[in-house]
């Protein structure tokens, strides 16, 4: 590389120590026989030192950090991290499915509802809150197992009225058994009370 062609384009990276391999070897060989390029490397070294000295010295800024963390928290609420998205999507999907189920139960079982003004409906009625994470299929199967239908709801607090066709009104023992079974349905029912 000695001679007319000087490796000017590589010298800055020789000066900052990042040149490697064949390029490094070629530049070193050239420098051994070229006073001009050695002077250039010296100049680049000086320039490098002064660029370092002229750069702003930024100390860690705790006020800026606290601001960043506040923004990060707000951002997390508005735009959840990727790992949270599936969980949120699943929760939303569960709620949607639950609402669809309730709607389906309401419309398909509507004919068995007592007409208004007929008096106390037959069967035991419970006030029930379903687990928000419960899959629709589990809720449906649970209600079918208990010969139960949703007859009202949800209220503003998310409470449904569920009638148990298998328990006669006034049969306190059957009502207590059913209530105990609903309360024990972990993952499906979060709260159950006799109406």
């Amino acid at each position: 590389m000695n001679g007319a062609v000087h490796p000017d384009e590589l010298l800055p990276w020789y000066a900052n120590g990042t040149l490697a391999g064949a390029e490094l070897e070629a530049v070193e060989a050239h420098l051994r026989g070229c006073a001009r390029c050695r002077a250039e490397v010296e100049l680049l070294g000086e320039l490098r030192e002064k660029v370092k000295q002229s750069a702003p010295v930024a100390v860690p800024d705790e006020v800026g950090l606290q601001r960043l963390l506040r923004e990060a928290r707000r951002s997390r609420l508005a735009h959840p991290h990727r790992w949270l998205r599936p969980a949120l999507a699943a929760a939303v999907a569960a709620i949607v499915v639950q609402a669809a189920l309730i709607g389906w139960l309401w419309t398909t079982r509507a004919p068995v509802m007592e007409p208004l003004g007929e008096g106390t409906p037959a069967g035991v009625v419970l006030q029930v809150r379903f687990d928000r994470a419960a899959p629709e299929a589990r809720i449906r199967a649970f209600l079918q197992d208990h010969d139960a239908v949703v007859i009202d709801g949800p209220s503003a607090l998310g409470v449904y009225r569920v009638r148990l066709h298998g328990a006669r009104a006034g049969d306190s023992a059957a009502a207590a058994r059913a209530l105990a079974e609903f309360r024990a349905a972990s993952g499906i029912v979060t709260q159950a009370e006799l109406q």
Binding site: P12, N16, T18, Q53, A55, L65
Partner: protein, 186 residues
């Protein structure tokens, strides 16, 4: 200038991707100063650079999950800073942008012998003033090569340009600096 091993920092980024605020804080302490220095070189305005540095850190928070480990975390975060700086420079009013730079590519070459003397005699303040007169693209290359001590391939990755462009920009930036320093000595 090393802020920790690349592996340490990749672990930090993985923590940030999981939403760990303490990892974001540690990343900030390690990198904020270097990101700010790079942005200030490119943008030239301290308030703008500080705001852009904050935007970079927020981008790290939002997109750490996209870091794939194919580059060093430093390269990745400076690449984000490069985009933020370009956005800000593009949004500037035209008069401010055009008044900013004396493009080194338009400068005459300088006599190497005289410039050796110049560069050695000038203090860092002169270098800073001359850097400010270079175009934003040339300042960025000089900063990354001489402040961050990065190789041309890594600089090309940050600036998203060919390696040959990095070398050419450095060559012209060096010529521009020599010329400017020569004028200051006169």
């Amino acid at each position: 200038m090393s802020a920790g091993t690349a592996a340490d920092e990749a672990i930090l980024l993985a923590g940030i991707a999981r939403g760990r605020e303490q990892d974001l804080a540690e990343f900030y302490r390690r990198y904020h100063g270097r990101v700010y220095a790079f942005l200030l070189r490119k943008i030239g305005d301290a308030a703008d650079a500080a705001e852009a540095a904050n935007e970079v850190m927020m981008e790290v928070w939002r997109s750490a999950a996209r870091f794939e480990g194919r580059s060093r975390p430093l390269t990745w975060v400076l690449g984000i800073a490069q985009h933020k700086a370009l956005d800000r420079v593009r949004r500037r009013p035209p008069d401010r942008a055009s008044a900013e730079a004396l493009d080194a590519e338009r400068l005459e070459d300088a006599s190497a012998g005289a410039m050796d003397l110049v560069a050695r005699k000038q203090d860092a303040e002169h270098v800073r003033r001359c850097l400010e007169q270079l175009s934003e693209a040339h300042r960025a290359v000089v900063h990354l090569a001489f402040f961050e001590d990065l190789g041309y391939a890594e600089i090309a990755a940050i600036l998203e340009c060919p390696e040959g462009t990095v070398k050419t920009r450095m060559f012209h930036a060096k010529q521009g600096l020599k010329r400017c320093l020569g004028r200051l000595l006169d």
